[in-house]
Subunit: 432 residues, 2 copies
């Protein structure tokens, strides 16, 4: 079963040429060169996300991500869009609970332009009040769009229930009320306070020369002040229940438990557990819930990690008539996996994860993002060989141990939609 | 502005080693080898989709796609999932209005296994009635999930309005009623009648040897009968209006026109038009609707082609308070682009599309799918050089000409959600 991957998992992974430079101001530059492509992905990842926001500024990171494209001292919003698209490149950005990222992909000749624009929008945005007023209304639309999408918004409620009124429980987009409170100087002030060079990583993958990129970054990123990083409040998982009946066709059930942080010794065992429980067509949940019983179109399990905690989550969407049958099956599968896991399914989950690592190497944007996140989370690049070795070390006993650890924590239940037939949390807890 | 891409667009594109073989039974095998990767994407694309279904069997193609994973004479559903995931590969499938595809991605050593499984599920599925009963319930869940997602289901209503009660107007998933009517012998019979070898293409991209793949296909695809292909009814665009008020936060507006087919001389001009009108951050709609007016989070335009027609579509999601302002702006932008287009924005749209072509070359799955679809649609592989040359030939005059052609057709309007303030179609038509 492992023959196909033996050479990869057994021997050291092919040497990569990842290089890292720390500039005097603390800004890190990392590159992962690939000589088989003509393009390069480059971006700035910031160790700044929704969990670093004060409650009354919830959504400010995400608004900052939007406003970075709305004009600098040298460029209008239109200039920013046009300059990149003129050369066929594209830029985008995202905000998560722990990070904010601004990135671009383009033909390699245009890397200097991309670095110039990234540096400009991160150092010299003007946060014009009229632009902000319009962008508030765009973000409010984005919030309502999320509210209208049951299998999207249910995860925000799940997060809020898992962490209660802590920063890690708040929505990345903010709320309509908090967004409407954001003013030009709060957004600009948040950037000045939080975007200090030691919380930023410039990463690139693809056709890129490390020294050339360092030179570009030194030339363009000159206006960042070094500040004490404001750390977010530590995460304390609470668990609990959220129910929102809504007149739609389906019920969306998110059932979660306290998970593990990136650097937890059980991290790799937890992702193997998530994979064999609900990661693919051969997984226990897919087979039991969808294939054997036809109870849901979507059913899955996944592990999300933060720097100081994590969530282990099961999700299913189903019709009201199947809902009563669904939750007992979810609980039964949880109880089964706590006591017994086969070495064949562990080997299969490891093979899937190993192949995912190797397939991820084929895309410049995937490699760029992975590298940047490793620097922010672990402080160093993690080689594929190291990841594959850690996966290889996960055996059935480790998976059972982590299942027992995770599933004895207090459950979090978020249920939204056609949920009249849904067991209350107490009844569900009694099954576990 | 074009310097960065000059060498690519001006000179012939790098020679590719695409090879095509037609077996005696009519089955085509095409490969696009890449020597820089360790993986291969392989799949079977069938010239069979929802538009080939009789009305009372609407959804049968999609059900067939599901049932192909539910067991063959040699393999249970679990076997199919386990054998592929044991080696870290993954399989998936999709159905569209014109095509059905079954594909896998894996490390290159496991190609023989993937071809064996693909051949097995496409020739020897058993369509067990009990499995079908469960799968009907899974598909019904999938339909309800789509109904619950406003910015998904609005496009099904748009399609039904654009084509009325023709096959091309019907939903890919079918309806709850049509799906509940599907029986084991109708699904199996549909496969036997429609999956004739001359309507199938086996395509692979990545680390693959053409002759070796041909050998595998010859060995495994032995049970296909050659039949006269049942062609779908020709598409006749009608236009019209669909309104569905729903108690949600946002209104979803799809405004479309009769578009162009793949082989239409205006095809490339229509995609340049879609790109400059609503394809990126520098596009007219993004700038006018989102950046200048803050009227929507999502606004876009795109051209969809079929073998004998197409649709040109504008989409926006907005709140009820901005809805009255939104549709006049959409109409105004349509009217503007019919009379004047700048050569700079045409060059930018071409640069974006060119870069998209080149970036698409980096992924095995993207190259595999593109190649298979070219064989089905054009009967031959289309080189990048040919695509780039066709794009290069599109000038501002061609874009204005296609805009005038498209926007004088009868509009199709689908509006769903918080649409009380929405102009009726007549009023909207008066603005165009």
């Amino acid at each position: 079963m492992t023959h196909a991957l033996g050479t990869v998992a057994g021997a050291p992974a092919p040497a990569t040429a990842i290089r890292e430079t720390r500039l005097p101001n603390g800004l890190r530059v990392v590159t992962d060169p690939m000589d088989t492509v003509e393009t390069v992905s480059v971006g700035v990842w910031a160790d700044v996300g929704a969990r670093h926001e004060p409650a009354d500024l919830n959504g400010v990171c995400h608004m900052l991500e939007h406003m970075a494209f709305k004009g600098t001292r040298r460029r209008t919003a239109l200039d920013i869009a046009v300059e990149m698209e003129d050369v066929g490149g594209h830029m985008n950005a995202y905000t998560s609970r722990e990070h904010t990222a601004f990135y671009a992909k383009m033909l390699h000749q245009d890397l200097p332009l991309a670095v110039d624009i990234l540096a400009d929008i991160l150092q010299h945005s003007v946060f014009d009040p009229e632009e902000l007023a319009r962008e508030r209304s765009v973000v409010v639309q984005e919030i309502y769009q999320s509210i209208d999408t049951p299998d999207d918004i249910v995860f925000d409620h799940f997060q809020a229930t898992a962490y209660g009124d802590q920063p890690l429980g708040r929505p990345v987009l903010g709320t309509v009320e908090s967004v409407e409170r954001l003013e030009s100087d709060t957004v600009g002030g948040f950037q000045r306070t939080h975007y200090s060079p030691d919380r930023l990583v410039v990463a690139a993958a693809g056709k890129v020369d490390h020294d050339a990129l360092v030179g570009l970054v030194e030339r363009h990123f000159t206006a960042l002040d070094r500040r004490l990083p404001a750390t977010g409040q530590g995460a304390r998982y609470t668990g609990g229940e959220y129910r929102e009946p809504r007149a739609v066709e389906q019920a969306h059930i998110v059932l979660g438990f306290d998970g593990v942080a990136y650097e937890d010794p059980d991290y790799y065992a937890s992702i193997v557990l998530a994979t064999l429980l609900g990661g693919g067509m051969s997984s226990r949940l897919f087979q039991e819930v969808r294939e054997k019983r036809g109870l849901a179109y979507t059913v899955s399990a996944f592990a999300s990690a933060y720097v100081d905690g994590g969530l282990f989550t099961l999700y299913a969407g189903t019709g009201p008539e199947d809902l009563a049958a669904l939750t007992p099956v979810l609980c039964e599968e949880i109880n089964k996996v706590r006591v017994s896991v086969g070495s064949d399914e562990v080997a299969r989950a490891r093979a899937q994860l190993r192949a995912g690592v190797l397939m991820g190497q084929e895309s410049t944007s995937g490699r760029c993002e992975q590298l940047a996140r490793q620097i922010l989370v672990y402080g160093r690049p993690i080689s594929n060989a190291e990841v594959l070795e850690a996966l290889e070390a996960v055996d059935a006993a480790a998976v059972v141990r982590v299942a027992e650890r995770l599933f004895r924590t207090a459950p979090t239940l978020a249920a939204l939609g056609a949920i009249d037939a849904m067991d209350p949390l107490d009844r569900l807890r009694a099954r576990l």
